[in-house]
Amino acid sequence: MLVDKDFIIKGSRAYVSFVRSYDEHKVSSIFKTQDLDFEEVARSFFLFKVPFIKELKGKNQSVVIATPEELKQLEAVEFLNKNQANMISQKIEQDKEKSKRRFFQSNV
């Protein structure tokens, strides 16, 4: 997992979508979200640090498996595909501009 940052991003997205899909299960008498072990699920996506999920506010979901040294290593992980990094930084800037515009419009 310490090879490519794309793994970490995809993994955290997958974690969020998995927990949400589990929460919306039709047979909810068997698949209870409160029985779900978030640490176990995070391990299965090979995550050391877990993103916060709005829907599950109030349930104990703060999970950090890694030691501080490992977290430092994680921050240093880069994209294997350099184009991807550029794409993402561009997208972030675009989103910022959009939200600025919206802010002005709502104030006018």
Partner: protein, 196 residues
Amino acid sequence: MGFFWLTVKKKGDNQHEVPKGLENSYIKCDSRLQKLFLLMKLIFKNKGKKIIVFFNTCHEVSFYHKLFSRWIGDRSQVYGKLQVQKITGNMDQTKRVNNLNAFSLAESGIMVATDVIARGIDFDHVDLIVQVDVPQDPSFYIHRIGRTARKGLEGHAILLLNKNEADYVDYMGEKQIPLQELSDSEVTKFKPAELT
């Protein structure tokens, strides 16, 4: 004017019929990580065959597709040129068709998929179906396992269950879909250390 009797019957209790050549089984796992190890073992054991792996969401599929294709690509002396395809709802139509054709024409391969191909799509001789996530809608279980054992051929469907999801077997039993625990000791009693 004569009378006539009109009888109303309940529309077949056996609405969803399981195909005859299908072996329908499940494995109990201790954790979600062990599900993945079991999946790797199943892929290793059936590397000359066609496998479909079902997940519930698109993001899960794109993550595990990347993971498996890297894992298999790094071990080409073991797996040969085993192909891993993916199909999700948020891909382009052309890409989807390409991946579908590549999988259905190949003699062996792995397809990582969401419920988009759970119904209505006909592949030639798929040997094994692994469900890592339990389907959100129970009726999709039948659609998913219907991808194998077509045209009188034999097939195998395996559901991976977590220990806290074990009641699902009884639930499916009530819906007249019997599930047996997999008796293959080679798969169920292995240690993750054997994989690498």
